[in-house]
């Protein structure tokens, strides 16, 4: 028993070294997920980003029907990559609202003309304030929000073809 006890410090040290080594070899992923999942969307009202679409407020996210909220920007390259996927989702009947981050109306118009327009409403968030209140840390990001305005899922980064089933399932579960 005493002999065994002598090994304890070495074992604790090995555990400690292991934890440190793991941190060195596989550092934390750089993306920070929102802690708002499961909570209600904070109150906000954003003006229209472009003339052809209405702006977006938190009330629009409590319509009784689950929606996809897409955080994007015309100056963001992965946002252009995910545009065809969003169009496909819209074709499948998903209601998609957007928040344009730090964007100028003419840039948003040009972006939508080039990459297609899946959005019902687009709010303009010129200094990322609503983005921060949602716990979002970059563009693009998407949130699945249920009919009562509760955030059900966050997708970090661009939505790829392989993510579509997951998004559709989350929207279905939010009904």
């Amino acid at each position: 028993m005493r002999k065994l006890l002598l090994w304890v410090p070495l074992m604790v040290f090995a555990l400690f070294a292991g934890v440190l080594l793991r941190g060195l070899i596989a550092p934390e992923s750089g993306t920070i997920s929102s802690k708002m999942v499961g909570k209600a969307v904070p109150d906000f009202t954003l003006p229209a980003a472009i003339a052809s679409h209405p702006g977006l407020s938190s009330a629009d996210l409590k319509s009784g029907k689950p929606v996809l909220l897409n955080i994007f920007a015309s100056w963001c390259l992965p946002c252009a990559t995910e545009a065809p996927i969003l169009l496909e989702l819209e074709k499948q009947g998903v209601e998609i609202h957007a928040i344009a981050i730090r964007d100028k109306p003419e840039d948003v118009v040009a972006f939508l003309r080039q990459h297609g327009d899946p959005y019902a409403r687009i709010g303009s968030d010129v200094s990322s304030q609503v983005q921060i209140s949602l716990g979002s840390s970059g563009v693009p990001e998407s949130f699945v929000i249920d009919g009562k305005g509760i955030v059900r899922m966050q997708h970090l980064g661009d939505i790829r073809a392989e993510d579509v089933p997951k998004i559709l399932a989350a929207l279905k579960a939010a009904e």
Binding site: V8, P9, K35, M36, W75, S127, S128, S137, G138
Partner: protein, 137 residues
């Protein structure tokens, strides 16, 4: 040939890297201090302990990232309105988790962090003392 190389080198030095940045101006209080020095000091102190989301490892006070500027502006505007720094910190932690602050709240897990060295030190001292005593005998 030499000259061509030199020109290329100079041009490469002059070119700006392509960053994913917007064409918008910085948020109102990203680089502007508050008029009231006491409030500005509160804001500064808070900003130095909030982690930048896109340039992890830097505080938002140290970062030139647009998002860090937007967060500085958010903090200054709220402090200007009379909000307490700790309330703003709690608001951010609610959204991004303990990760976002360099001064995380004390929880059970941090008790282990602070307590374990003490426990180990006591254990080690005890072990050493019993050995020394045995040798002395």
């Amino acid at each position: 040939m030499m000259i061509r190389g030199l020109i290329l080198l100079i041009l490469a030095g002059l070119s700006a890297p392509v960053l994913a940045d917007s064409r918008m101006d910085a948020a109102p209080y990203a680089y502007v201090q508050l008029k009231d020095p006491a409030k500005e000091r509160q804001a500064k102190e808070l900003m130095a302990t909030i982690r930048c989301l896109v340039c992890q490892g830097q505080s938002i006070a140290d970062s030139d990232a647009e998002m860090a500027g937007d967060m500085r502006s958010l903090i200054r505007e709220r402090i200007e309105k009379g909000e307490k720094p700790e309330a703003i910190r709690a608001w951010l932690v609610e959204r991004y988790g303990d990760w976002v602050t360099y001064a995380p709240p004390t929880r059970g897990s941090s008790l282990v962090l602070w307590g374990l060295p003490l426990v180990l030190l006591m254990f080690g001292t005890g072990l050493a003392m019993s050995r020394i005593r045995r040798k002395a005998r």
